[in-house]
Amino acid sequence: MVKFMNIDKFFQSKTFKTILLGIGGLIALLLVFKTGMMVGFQKANFFCRWSDNYHQNFGGPRGGFPGGLGDKDFMEANGAVGQIIKVATSSLVIKGRGDVEKVILVNDDTIINRLKETIAIDALRVDDTVVVIGEPNNDGQIEAKLIRVMPEPSIGMKVDGMPKRFLR
């Protein structure tokens, strides 16, 4: 009974009102951001560049994909998480969400970290899971600023909350 009274008081309190207002505000904020993202996407055109340059980067259809790739249109332009499928002298190809390949360019300023040490690009291996932050360029590639090699997952386990099916 005492507990019920406390809960009742809590629901009528200013704190609860603030929480409700906070959630409402967050929803409004998310709605605005969602709209901004959609409009920003139209302008930013990263996907178009990626699609237009697909043939050059990956050997896919010339002139990109007619009609786009459905919900894969909304691909991240400033970051990537996925598994390395190819390592070259100054670039990587990674397979991320929805099995979309992304070309990651590595230059002299790019920092590549594995655990506590900084490594060179040739120390990266196919199947390594990496997290990349960088900047998109006009060819639909990401110029990497930081590449973090994630620890290897145990068999059947998740990688930092990422299910294995995502990685394969």
Binding site: F16, L20, I27, F33, K34, E76, R97, K145, M150, G161
Partner: protein, 105 residues
């Protein structure tokens, strides 16, 4: 009578939002996991100084991978759940008190 109808309405909203919160929370969770948000966010702890110097790209990559639809669904369900709880906790006692008055009167 009006209060009774309102209470029935809010009880319905409470039930729907409580049921809706489960898939919405699941959607938000799988969005966080599948989009790579968790991995990107972990950079803030593992590579703090580098992330600070490239904070703009880091923030943009986090925002891009934020599972907006799942978060919105969970937020809306939570909002209606808490709102209806607030109404019900305030008015159910009032309804039982007025019933008591009718019985006594």
């Amino acid at each position: 009578m009006v209060l009774r109808r309102k209470i029935i309405g809010f009880s319905f909203v409470l039930a729907v939002s409580a049921l809706g919160l489960i898939p919405a929370a699941k959607m938000a969770y799988s969005g966080f996991v599948g989009s790579g948000f968790v991995q990107l966010f972990s950079l803030a702890f593992s590579d703090t100084s580098i992330v600070m110097s490239y904070w703009r790209d880091f923030v943009l990559s986090l925002l891009e991978s934020l599972p907006i639809t799942g978060l919105m669904a969970a937020g809306i369900a939570l909002f209606f759940l808490l709102g209806s709880l607030k109404f019900l906790s305030k008015n159910i006692k009032g309804l039982s008190y007025s019933k008591q008055l009718l019985i006594n009167g």
